[in-house]
Symmetry: C2
Subunit: 236 residues, 2 copies
DNA sequence: GAATTTCTTGTACACTAGTACAAATAGCAT
DNA sequence: ATGCTATTTGTACTAGTGTACAAGAAATTC
């Protein structure tokens, strides 16, 4: 590539190149995985120079780290707000639904800074979790588990008769379903044989909430078996 | 590394190196992603020479392709068997549960050739799907969608009052939950605060079946509400 | 307007990637 | 044994990787 004219033209106006790099990286990582994307790919997509990436984020890991830092706080903040609002609902059924929605909504679109950034960031988290990315794992463990606990506690309160263990599993499934919905957005419409071609984010959210609420309310797993196991374990 | 003595020792008896390479690749890909693993990594893990990989599978993509070929047929066969058996159950509730179990069981352990290979292969599929791997995408589309349709049809039969669209979504969520459970096996025990430290595959299967059946049986999405939501939703 | 900090560029370097290929070896029928 | 084939090895090659760094441009401050 000729560096002179082309780049000057493409980058004639670069109000915030750092931002553009973050954005491009987010998009590329979330669709192709971390290792499949090179720093040069990112730079090119952002209309920047590979050196700029090094300058702003030092390393490729640093870039990923910054993406997480950028999104984690607003997303969890939004979740906390919605959770607090949901907890004020009196009717247990409505409350449970609101709690689940409070967890799901910000994942599809963080309403703060970037339009649609929530969905993209969630997709990114899904990919990083699948790839077993070490940087992501660390951040998630120390940032998201608190929020997850808060949600699990809130759910537990509306479902006192369900063992916490079951609630944890079902919340876990929720996250998996959430991730997968964002990772393969086209699969649903392919499987529904055209019956529902207009599968959009709104549908996904409502379907996910409905399904999760039902799953959470399901009778717990055979109550005898866990007791046996617990008795056998606590003795040791 | 000294090539002479060490390799001769490690590979003193190599009844089927091709097999070992496939196995090592499966393990490495499914835990680290496709692009994070080099051919040399695979060769070393299999106690083989990088050249052997090229000899047996031509390219890295060819290796991945062979892994899929190896597992897809037995897995879908097993699923078909279990599905056929499930369909013979009279009681609709029991039948639905058996159908879901027929889908889930082979994903956790294909009972044919490799012990535990089902879970590893499912994890691999999860990772490939997250990474948007092109090879995997092609194979899955042409191999798994048939099976998925068969299952969806069977489910639909036990739940005639649920729109097919909703069933598709909920099956989609099942797959996501399934994938995620295998991708992050440690997360559940971390979140359950030690209440259930012995989270094993059996628990996962039963929890997944229970949750999915409940989700599938949930009342369909209010056919009127989407009109309201569509006006209020954030992203088009 | 000059100095200084902040950003951007171009390029270079050490390294690893996937793959190719000739040589060496093993297995096996004859 | 003797070929013959299938496999395994060692190595080489090109392309692309992450990152470092000097030099230039822009912005900001005094």
């Amino acid at each position: 590539m000729v560096p002179g004219a082309a780049s000057k033209e493409a980058v004639a106006r670069k109000p915030n190149l750092r931002e553009a790099i973050l954005c491009a990286a987010e998009e590329l990582f979330s669709t192709n995985g971390f290792n499949a994307v090179s720093v040069r790919d990112i730079a090119q997509a952002a209309g920047a120079n590979p050196g700029s990436v090094t300058y702003h984020f030092k390393t490729k890991d640093g870039l990923l780290l910054e993406i997480y830092r950028r999104h984690c706080v607003p997303m969890n903040l939004r979740r906390s707000e919605l959770l607090a609002a949901a907890k004020r609902i009196r009717d247990p059924q409505d409350r449970l639904e609101a709690i689940v929605r409070a967890y799901v909504l910000p994942a599809f679109s963080s309403g703060s800074d970037l339009a649609g950034g929530g969905a993209r960031f969630t997709r990114l988290r899904a990919v990083m979790s699948a790839e077993g990315n070490e940087v992501a794992r660390r951040i998630i463990a120390q940032t998201f588990d608190d929020t997850s606990h808060a949600f699990i506690d809130a759910i537990q309160e509306t479902l006192p008769h369900i063992p916490r263990n079951d609630i944890v599993w079902r919340s876990h499934f929720l996250l998996g379903a959430l991730y997968y919905s964002l990772v393969t957005p086209e699969r649903v419409s392919r499987l529904s044989r055209g019956d529902a071609d207009g599968a959009d984010a709104g549908d996904a959210i409502e379907q996910l909430v409905r399904a999760t609420v039902a799953a959470l309310q399901a009778p717990p797993l055979d109550p005898a078996a866990p007791l046996q196991r617990r008795a056998a374990r606590t003795k040791a």
